[in-house]
C-alpha cells in the first residue's frame, strides 16, 4: 500500500529540484509574489516532469503526480512530502499542484473513462456558507447546520445545475471543474467545462496571499450537462469524503513546507546579521525564537505525516486530516511569524520573502473551514470513531 523509501526519496528529490530551479526563478525581481506571468511556464514544467497529476493518461504525472491515479498504490505520504518541498519556495505554486491533483483524483476514483479528458481541472466543493457540516455531509438537503444550495436537477438526457461555488482555487488555464452539488437527497459530482453556457467565473480580486493560484467564484445558472458528465454512481459522498480528507491534508502539508522555508531563512539570516556586538544567532532571545519556530514546524510536519501514513477513505484519515489542517496549520503559522520576527524590520519588508510566507500561510489557515467548523467536525467524527 505504500511507496518504498527509495521511491519516496526520488519523488521528494524531484519536487525539491523543481522548487529550486523552476519555482525559485520567478522570484528574481522586486515583486514579493514573484513574476506571476511566469507561473504558467512553471506549471508546464511541473506537468512535463510528472509532478502535476492530471485526468489525461497522456500526461507524465497521471499516475505518480501529486494525488495521482496511483494514490492507492503509493499511499499519501509521497504527495504530502512533494507539496511540502514545493511550498518551501512558494506556497502558491504548491497550492496549484494540490488543487489540480485533488480534482484529478476525484476523476480517477470515479473510474470514468473520459473520451477527451481535460488536462487542467479544479475542484469546486464549497457552498456559499463554506464547507458542508457533518450532518449536511450525510444528508445534503438538511440544515445541519446549512443545507446544500447548489443543485443538479435531472432532465431528459442529463442535468441542469444551478448554484454558486465560491472560492474555487484553480491553476491558470483550468479547463473544467469538478463540482459537488445536491441531487435530490444525495450528493452528485459533475465534471463541467468552464466554457459551458450559463457558467460564469469571477475573480475574487485582491487578496492576502497565495497569489500564484487563481481564485474565482463559480456561478452556475441553468448549466445543462449530459448524463456522462456525472462522476458518481448515484451518491458522490465517498468522492466528497476523499476530497475533503485530501484537501485538508494537502493544505497542512503546504503549511508545513512554508514553515520549513521560513525557519531555514531565519537561521540563515541569524547567522549572517551582526547585531548588538555579535551575530544575531548568539542572542539567547533569537535562539529561543528560532528553536520555538523549529519545534512548531516539526510538530506541524508530524501531524501531516501522521495523516499521510493512514489508509484512504477511512474515518481515521478524515479526522486526522482535519486535525492536521486545524492544529498543524496553526503551528505552521506560529513558526512563520516567529521566523519573521528574527528579521526585525527587514522581515516586514518584501525583500527577504518572509512577509510573503506569512501572508501565504495565513490564507491557508483561513481556507477550507473555520476553526469552529473544524472543531465541530473533529468532535462529530470522533463520536463515530468510538
Amino acid at each position: 500500500m505504500s511507496t518504498s523509501s527509495f521511491e519516496m526519496h526520488e519523488f521528494i528529490e524531484t519536487a525539491h529540484a523543481f522548487a529550486a530551479k523552476s519555482v525559485a526563478s520567478i522570484f528574481d525581481g522586486e515583486h514579493a509574489d514573484g513574476k506571476l506571468d511566469k507561473i504558467d511556464d512553471v506549471l508546464s514544467t511541473a506537468f512535463s516532469i510528472g509532478l502535476a497529476a492530471s485526468p489525461d493518461p497522456n500526461q507524465p504525472g497521471y499516475d505518480y503526480g501529486i494525488w495521482g491515479a496511483a494514490l492507492s498504490e503509493t499511499g499519501l505520504a509521497p504527495s504530502t512530502l512533494m507539496l511540502s518541498a514545493v511550498a518551501e519556495v512558494c506556497g502558491g505554486v504548491a497550492l496549484n499542484l494540490h488543487v489540480q491533483g485533488l480534482a484529478s483524483q476525484v476523476i480517477h476514483m470515479s473510474g470514468r473513462q473520459l473520451t477527451s479528458p481535460p488536462v487542467r481541472v479544479a475542484p469546486a466543493i464549497q457552498e456559499e456558507f463554506g464547507l458542508p457540516g457533518w450532518g449536511t455531509l450525510n444528508v445534503p438537503s438538511v440544515d445541519a447546520p446549512a443545507r446544500v444550495m447548489s443543485e443538479a436537477k435531472p432532465v431528459k438526457g442529463g442535468y441542469v445545475i444551478d448554484g454558486v461555488k465560491p472560492f474555487m482555487y484553480a491553476m491558470p488555464g483550468a479547463e473544467s471543474a469538478v463540482v459537488f452539488c445536491r441531487v435530490d437527497e444525495n450528493w452528485g459530482c459533475f465534471l463541467i467545462p468552464l466554457t459551458s453556457a450559463g457558467l460564469k467565473t469571477e475573480a475574487v480580486g485582491v487578496r492576502t496571499g497565495l497569489r500564484a493560484s487563481y481564485l474565482t467564484h463559480l456561478t452556475l445558472k441553468g448549466v445543462q450537462i449530459p448524463l456522462e458528465a456525472r462522476l458518481d454512481d448515484g451518491d458522490a459522498l465517498p468522492l466528497l469524503i476523499r476530497s475533503l480528507s485530501l484537501h485538508w491534508l494537502g493544505l497542512a502539508a503546504i503549511g508545513a513546507g512554508i514553515a520549513r522555508g521560513a525557519v531555514k531563512a531565519a537561521r540563515k539570516y541569524a547567522s549572517e546579521r551582526y547585531q548588538g556586538g555579535t551575530m544575531l544567532e548568539n542572542h539567547p532571545v533569537i535562539r529561543m525564537l528560532i528553536a520555538g519556530a523549529e519545534s512548531n514546524m516539526e510538530a506541524a510536519g508530524a501531524l501531516a505525516a501522521r495523516a499521510g501514513d493512514m489508509h484512504l477513505d477511512t474515518p481515521e484519515i478524515m479526522r486526522a486530516s482535519a486535525i492536521a489542517r486545524l492544529t498543524g496549520l496553526q503551528l505552521s503559522t506560529e513558526a512563520v511569524t516567529d521566523s519573521l520576527q528574527v528579521f526585525g524590520g527587514y522581515g516586514y519588508m518584501e525583500d527577504y520573502g518572509m512577509e510573503k510566507r506569512l501572508r501565504d500561510v495565513t490564507v491557508l489557515k483561513s481556507m477550507a473551514g473555520t476553526p469552529q467548523y473544524l472543531k465541530q467536525f473533529i468532535f462529530e467524527s470522533g463520536e463515530v470513531r468510538s
Binding site: F129, A170, L215
Partner: protein
C-alpha cells in the same frame, strides 16, 4: 477560464460577497420570519426569557439592590469613553468621527496603491481639526490642558486608536508626525520649542499639510538603538562633525516612518570620534543641501505611510538646530520611546478593534442555515474572546498613559507588547472566523491584520520591549 488580473482596483470594486445576492437575501428574509414565528409561537417562553435576563430579573431587587446593578445597554466604547477626563472624551469622539469621515473612504485605495496616494488633503484636514498639534497643550498646541496634566500622552493615544481602527497606513502617516515632534518637547529645551515647534504648530493650526519624522534606525543598528546593552555595542554610521556655526552630518537612516514625505526630521547622530554616548538630536530640514531620500521600502502593511531611507552627505546643520544639550540624545531617544510606546500600543489596539468590528458585522449579516453566524454559541465564544482581549489591552494602555506627566519605561513597554500581541491575535481570529472572506482585500480585515503585524516590530521589537521592562525594574523588582 481567463487568468484573473489580481491587482486591478476594478476587480476589487466588482468582487462579490457570496451570500449577499438577491436570491440569498430573499431566502434569509424567510428564515428570519421562521425564527420569529418560533419564538412568537410560545409567548410563555418569550416572557420567561425576558424576565430571566438581568434587566428583568433586577426588578425583584429592593431599591438599593437595583442601584447596584448595571443594566445599561451601552457599548464597550461608550463605557470606556465615559471613564475618561473631559478632554480625552472630546478627542476620542472627534477622532472617531474624523476617522470615519476622512480615513475610511481612502483606506483601501491608499493600501493598494500607496505611491499614487496624495496625503496632503488628509494631513491638511487633520491639522485644521487640531489632531496634528495634540501633543502639546493649549495655547501652544490643541491638547486640553487639564487632561494633559493628568496624563500627557492619553489624548494622542485615544486619537491613535480611532485612526488605526480605520487604516494603519493613514493612521501612521498622521501619527508619526507626533513622534517627530516629541524629541523637541521632551528635550525640555525651551529655545528649541520656541524656535521650531511653536512656528510649526501655528502653521499646522491653519491647515498646513506638514509633518515631522523621527530618525534613529540605521542600516546596521535597528533594535540596538532601542535598548541599553545593544546601544552600547551598536554599529552606528551617522556622525556629526563640528563646523563653523554648526555641524556637518554624514550617514544614513533607514525604515523612517513618514521620512519620505516629512518636511523636517529629528535625527540622531554621534559626535565625530565618539560613541553612542555622544548621540545628539538635530532638526534636519529636507531642503538642506546634501540631504536626500533614498529607497522607499515595500512593506507588507501600513502602506499609506512610507518607510524611507534618509541619506546625509555633508549636510550642514546650524547649531540652533541641535535639540537640547550636546550628548543628550541617547536619553532623549529613550524617553521618546517611553512616550511613544503607549501610542503604538493604541494603534495596534485600533487595528485589532477594526478587524473585530468588521468580523462582527460579517457575523451579523451572514447566515449559516437558519441562523445568523452570530447566533451560534461557538461564534459568540470567539467574538467574546476577541472583545475581552481588546478590552484588557486598552486597560493596560490607558494605565500606562496615566503616569502623570511622565511615562515609565516598564509600563510603556508592557502596553506596547500586550496591545500588539493582542491585536495580531485578534486580527487572526477575525480572518479565521470569516473564513475565505477574511483574506479578501475588499473586506479590510486582512489589511488590518497586515497593519497589526508591524506593531510587534517597530518602536523596538516585542523582544526588546520585554528586556526594557527587566532593565527598568531590575533593582526594584527582580534583583533583590
Amino acid at each position: 477560464m481567463k487568468p484573473a488580473d489580481q491587482t486591478t482596483r476594478e476587480r476589487q470594486a466588482t468582487s462579490i460577497i457570496p451570500g449577499m445576492g438577491p436570491e440569498q437575501t430573499a431566502r434569509t428574509t424567510k428564515i428570519r420570519a421562521d425564527i420569529h414565528e418560533t419564538i412568537e409561537a410560545d409567548p410563555t417562553l418569550k416572557k420567561r426569557i425576558a424576565k430571566l435576563a438581568m434587566p428583568g430579573a433586577s426588578r425583584d431587587l429592593n431599591f438599593f439592590g437595583k442601584l447596584l446593578v448595571d443594566c445599561g445597554e451601552r457599548t464597550i466604547w461608550e463605557r470606556d469613553t465615559a471613564t475618561l477626563p473631559w478632554g480625552c472624551r472630546y478627542w476620542r469622539r472627534k477622532a472617531r468621527d474624523f476617522a470615519r469621515q476622512y480615513i475610511r473612504p481612502d483606506a483601501l485605495a491608499a493600501d493598494l496603491d500607496p505611491h499614487n496616494y496624495d496625503p496632503k488633503p488628509i494631513l491638511s484636514a487633520a491639522a485644521k481639526a487640531g489632531f496634528q498639534t495634540a501633543m502639546m497643550p493649549f495655547p501652544i498646541g490643541t491638547a486640553e490642558p487639564f487632561a494633559y496634566l493628568r496624563a500627557a500622552v492619553m489624548q494622542p493615544a485615544v486619537i491613535a486608536e480611532e485612526f488605526a481602527t480605520e487604516c494603519g497606513g493613514i493612521g501612521l502617516l498622521l501619527l508619526a508626525h507626533h513622534l517627530g515632534c516629541a524629541p523637541i518637547m521632551l528635550s525640555g529645551h525651551i529655545p528649541s520649542m520656541v524656535r521650531h515647534l511653536v512656528p510649526l504648530y501655528q502653521r499646522l493650526k491653519k491647515g498646513a499639510p506638514e509633518t515631522m519624522a523621527f530618525a534613529i534606525t540605521e542600516p546596521g543598528a535597528g533594535s540596538d538603538v532601542e535598548e541599553t546593552e545593544g546601544g552600547a555595542q551598536a554599529h552606528l554610521v551617522t556622525t556629526a562633525k563640528r563646523a563653523k556655526g554648526g555641524f556637518i552630518l554624514n550617514g544614513r537612516k533607514c525604515f523612517i516612518s513618514g521620512g519620505g514625505y516629512a518636511q523636517k526630521v529629528t535625527l540622531y547622530a554621534k559626535l565625530d570620534g565618539e560613541g553612542i554616548e555622544s548621540w545628539t538630536c538635530f532638526i534636519v530640514d529636507k531642503n538642506m543641501p546634501g540631504f536626500s531620500v533614498g529607497r522607499l521600502e515595500h512593506k507588507m502593511g501600513q502602506r499609506a505611510s512610507d518607510a524611507a531611507e534618509l541619506i546625509l552627505e555633508d549636510v550642514f546643520v546650524p547649531k540652533e538646530n541641535a535639540v537640547g544639550k550636546l550628548r543628550s540624545g541617547w536619553a532623549n531617544n529613550r524617553n521618546v520611546l517611553n512616550y511613544s510606546r503607549p501610542c503604538v500600543g493604541a494603534m495596534a489596539l485600533g487595528h485589532g478593534r477594526g478587524a473585530f468590528e468588521r468580523a462582527l458585522e460579517f457575523c451579523r449579516r451572514t447566515y449559516l442555515g437558519p441562523k445568523r453566524l452570530i447566533d451560534y454559541q461557538d461564534i459568540q465564544y470567539t467574538l467574546s474572546d476577541m472583545a475581552m482581549s481588546l478590552w484588557s489591552a486598552r486597560a493596560m494602555i490607558w494605565h500606562s498613559c496615566a503616569q502623570l506627566l511622565r511615562c515609565n519605561q516598564a509600563a510603556s513597554a508592557t502596553a506596547k507588547v500586550i496591545a500588539s500581541d493582542t491585536a495580531f491575535k485578534v486580527c487572526n481570529q477575525a480572518i479565521e472566523i470569516m473564513g475565505d472572506h477574511g483574506y479578501v482585500h475588499a473586506n479590510s480585515v486582512e489589511r488590518l491584520w497586515r497593519d497589526s503585524r508591524l506593531t510587534q516590530i517597530y518602536e523596538g521589537t516585542n523582544q526588546i520591549n520585554r528586556l526594557s521592562l527587566i532593565e527598568f525594574l531590575w533593582e526594584a523588582e527582580f534583583n533583590k
